[in-house]
Symmetry: C2
């Protein structure tokens, strides 16, 4: 058995037994019910029978938009129904008078870690006005919190690409400067040019050997058409498993038979779908997609920003809302909701991990629950969060990594 430096004892393991996790060099070196390995002066932590769960993964977040860490900002209503362009304008205005981005992003990162998130995928606004400012901000944040959380960065054209000249070049620079994935935004609804928009982002992805994660709010049949086009390009370019579509509301807006046809296309191309289960609009049918073989994952998306005032960066809350909005009641379904923020998200983010097992990074959360279903509905307080074997949060407080 490899050498360990920390042992967490008396914890409820995923298999329902009380046991231990031994950590060495930031990874799990032993997990199970047998007697804890000899201490050898290693650190011993008592788990008090708490349930050990893998660290949660926020698959879609905007660190550069939040008002967390700032004063309360009242939301301004859309003038006539939801309109992405109007929201973008309101956002620019609101952020102009907000606290420095560094303060807001760091406050949010500490909050998400405190809730039990150990990985996140962050979409960073790239547009001709902001240039690479937001990217630089999030690169700094990523570096500063590298021992508390792993951050994946998507270069996100929030103001479009085709209709915002210069953006394609900025995205290219962003990819050279440290962004991990190429983003996109409503090729038809925003840029009015499906081919033009997708040509650019798939080309960028190919040149940088990167994945893609596209925001797609476009509705019903329009949205399905774009999904199928994205899936087709993914297959043709051999990018299976590297392309995700965020929101994809259209899948929840059409008759189930139509959505199922598109689901089959997505499954064949291994294009994954991110949903945060919004409150008052249809969203992708999680279970149908899962059964069709599509990898569905989740993220908090907007957290108290110009897009909506809700959220506190808690993936346990998000998972509850996924289940609540999807009508999930049985243990099996509640576990599926949980998978969206763990197993499935890990697959989409390419983390190469599958829960708590020997060899995996020692990223986990201890919560007071008797199993995953209860953790999903109860979202217990008093969590203890570990990143690469080191405790980084306790009872909702970020402890730092110093």
């Amino acid at each position: 058995m490899p050498k360990h430096d920390t042992i967490i004892e008396d914890i409820l393991l995923p298999d329902g037994n009380i046991g231990h996790i031994a950590v060495g060099a930031g990874h799990i070196v032993s997990i199970g019910t047998e007697t804890s390995p000899q201490a050898d002066g290693s650190k011993r932590i008592k788990g008090g029978g708490a349930l050990a769960l893998p660290g949660l993964i926020d698959g879609h977040v905007h660190l550069d938009k939040t008002f967390i860490g700032d004063g309360w900002k009242s939301h301004r209503a859309c003038t006539a129904g939801f309109d992405v362009r109007e929201r973008v304008e309101f956002e620019k205005e609101a952020l102009a008078t907000a606290a420095p981005g560094e303060n807001r992003a760091s406050a949010l990162v500490e909050q998400v870690v405190a809730h039990g998130t150990t990985h996140l995928r962050c979409h960073v606004d790239i547009d001709p006005e902001a240039g690479l400012k937001n990217l630089d901000l999030v690169l700094n944040i990523r570096d500063r919190y590298r021992d508390a959380i792993d951050i994946q960065i998507v270069a996100f054209p929030q103001s479009g690409i085709v209709t915002a000249p210069g953006t394609a070049e900025l995205l290219d620079s962003a990819m050279r400067n440290g962004a991990d994935l190429v983003g996109g935004l409503d090729p038809v609804g925003f840029d009015r040019d499906m081919k033009g928009h997708l040509d650019i982002i798939f080309d960028l992805a190919e040149r940088h050997g990167a994945g893609i994660d596209i925001h797609l709010h476009d509705p019903d049949t329009l949205g399905l058409t774009e999904l199928e086009e994205i899936a087709t390009r993914t297959l043709v370019l051999g990018m299976q498993g590297k392309v995700a579509v965020s929101h994809a509301y259209s899948l929840g807006e059409v008759p189930e038979a139509a959505a199922r046809k598109t689901a089959d296309v997505l499954a064949r191309s291994n294009v994954s779908i991110m949903t945060n289960a919004p409150g008052n609009r249809p969203f992708p049918p999680v279970k149908m997609l899962h059964e069709a073989g599509v990898t569905v994952f989740t993220g908090n998306d907007n957290i108290r920003d110009s897009w909506w005032p809700y959220g506190e960066g808690d993936m346990f809350e998000r998972v509850m809302i996924i289940g609540y909005r999807s009508g999930f009641l049985t243990d099996e379904d509640l576990c599926l909701a949980f998978d969206l923020a763990t197993r499935n998200a890990a697959q989409v983010l390419g983390l190469g991990i599958n829960g708590l097992e020997v060899g995996a990074p020692a990223d986990f959360v201890l919560v007071n629950a008797r199993g995953v279903p209860e953790a999903v509905v109860a979202r217990p307080e008093g969590r203890k969060v570990f990143k690469r074997g080191r405790q980084v949060a306790s009872d909702g407080r970020y402890l730092g990594t110093g």
Copy 2:
């Protein structure tokens, strides 16, 4: 100024100023920004700048059904879509092997108080099999926790009335034995007899001088017809303001114009509507009803029981879900969501109170927020709960009233 025995200082008042609340004999005797009244040996509590909010009101709860305070109970799925009769059967089976009702109900009461609820309306199952067993249970609980929370009891015919012979007589006994309101259940969908069902409950209410609160899951046009019949009877019998309908899903299932017509009828009869904003089915349009003059209130309804596994008895969570599901984003709308669990619920429960003001019972919660909108979206931890001026909970823990 009347004599006070406790002063809570350094709190953020609803008007946005920092001030105090002075309590005497369980009531607010002074509230404002002027210097705190002379102490006279009274108890002084520092609020630390926390926001003072009226105690929350859970307008619909089932203390006799919960599994809180018991082991984790896996949910059993409906065999073919949601069916009230099937649920009732499953519930009986599940409760037969559950922990004693006294333990579960008291665990739940302590939990709801810990979250900041100071009043609740509890529906108690009355049927030929259970008789008045559940009523006796909740009467005991009400007495035991009378210094921590006010409990209003609805005699609820969970197994029907017309189709469950003997129930009408049991409801009558329940009203004599301490129940406050007469309940009902889907006159057509369950009992297949709108006139028969409503004749019985309106007669009982009249004879006992009591109000009515009817569970109505019946869908679309059927549900609207029942709502209009209930409203008409309310008007004819002069029972305006004393009749509530819980759920009334139908109002969210029909075109808005149809719902608006029924809303006008409800407003004229002052029949109020309770919704808990369920996760995956349409529910009453809160804002439209509010604008039409209908009093809308909210409650947690089922809390981890045979009907669904969600909920932890936190009305702050419920208010967030009301807003989230209703698409409420502006401060005004978030305050409306909050009103459903405070001002509106107080009106429906006939409490004769309207927020924090001199003369009102000193039932309030201190939370870390800068205003109601933030309290709604953030549901801050670390609440302090006061019932008639005495602190009954702190940081999520029930303190008792001893």
